[in-house]
Point group: none
Chain length 217, copies 2
DNA sequence: AAAAAAAGTTAGTCTTATCTAAAAAATTAT
DNA sequence: ATAATTTTTTAGATAAGACTAACTTTTTTT
């Protein structure tokens, strides 16, 4: 259907659209794909020819319905393979990404559907991200960064982006863990810092902290 | 390590070496790879530069030890994935080849070793072909066609070549299945037909049938 | 052994996806 | 609003792998 490279671009654009809502910039795609902006321009033109994206010179790129469907197909494969690697083959979480990155490009609908069945139709992957169904429908929202939430929002901690010992100890000291319910009590505009409530207790956290916590609303 | 294309050439040369012992011809490789002889010449030169094959202009190509090891690595992956597709995901025989053809190029030693363990270290793939171990050692000989056996020989059914429903039903009706012990009671010279014994029962089978059953002696 | 046929190689072209360098457009700063 | 900076695009080049057409070597036929 689509080449490996095309699929990777579609997936990158899909992920970036979730953050920057007004058309994804060429530089952003280049960053995500670890490639040069000029390569991105070439590729988005090609994807535009195939009706997979809307591309306006100098303005940005968005997925068309067709492109979104294709991207969700890749995301579905990636996440199902991740479940398989972790649950069936007992891999560690940091080992699975590179392998799933390859497996997601295997061309066979039947394969992924049978794998889905074998795993008993999981709704989420091991990072807490939802797995789209055959038709590209996602049961629940994607996880968000705590930093993206507004005052009054609340959700559950489903993962961390940064995994340094310092950061994990910071969380530990405050009894913030995967599964914790977090509510945003206040948010400062000028520096993005927040006051949050976790299990009755209140904490002040910087923007940097909030940008490294994944939340499910 | 090696590109998909390089791996496919190595595998093709490996398979062809088993038949034509005196250096594989460029045309033979082209046939196996469904490509043009000129493309083969280009590639074998490249493989020769990498010390994976011995290539002598106009004479033929053979695998070096290094090339054989690489080829066996691909064969191992292919056969382990086939076992997985058939045993774990319940695919039919005729569906697995194209998918295994893609999966065999996934780069991860760890993945294939864990899969091997998950499948309980199978010695043969569903077609009866032996699976090389981590170090490229093959436990036993390659399978033979029932048609190649002589009166008095016996062995175990390890695979089928033809996979049409008609043929599979033919076998089913006589309770001939993978694992069945088969003994050749008699063989006619003029048409290659046989009388065989399977679990106490005797059957008459034509040469055509005997040419589609793989046996391990 | 010479002629004919088959097999194999070389040279040049094409596609996909990438890159660098230079130019153009958009954004930010003064 | 003009200048400076950043972002994006264009043009031209490169590498992998495949192709066609022409040429060379080997093998087969007579």
């Amino acid at each position: 259907m689509y080449s490996k490279s095309e699929e990777n671009y579609l997936k990158a654009i899909y992920h970036l659209e979730a953050i920057a809502k007004h058309g994804v910039s060429t530089n952003a795609i280049a960053g995500e794909m670890e490639t040069k902006p000029s390569s991105v321009t070439d590729m988005v033109k090609k994807l535009a020819d195939k009706q997979l994206v809307n591309y306006v010179k100098y303005k940005g790129t968005t997925l068309t319905e067709k492109g979104k469907k294709a991207a969700l197909g890749v995301v579905r494969k990636h996440r199902i393979w991740e479940v398989f690697l972790l649950e069936t083959l007992d891999f560690q979480w940091d080992e699975v990404h590179d392998i799933a990155e390859q497996l997601e490009h295997i061309k066979s609908q039947e394969l992924i559907n049978r794998l889905d069945k074998f795993l008993d139709y999981p709704d989420y992957d091991p990072h807490g991200d939802p797995i789209p169904d055959k038709n590209g429908n996602i049961k629940s929202a994607e996880k968000k960064l705590l930093a993206e939430l507004k005052k009054g929002n609340q959700g559950q901690l489903v993962g961390v982006r940064e995994t340094s010992p310092d950061f994990l100890q910071f969380l530990d000291k405050r009894s913030i863990a995967i599964g914790s319910k977090i509510k945003v009590l206040g948010k400062e505009f000028f520096d993005g810092s927040m006051v949050i409530q976790v299990q009755g207790e209140q904490f002040f956290i910087s923007k940097k902290i909030a940008e490294n916590l994944y939340i499910h609303i």
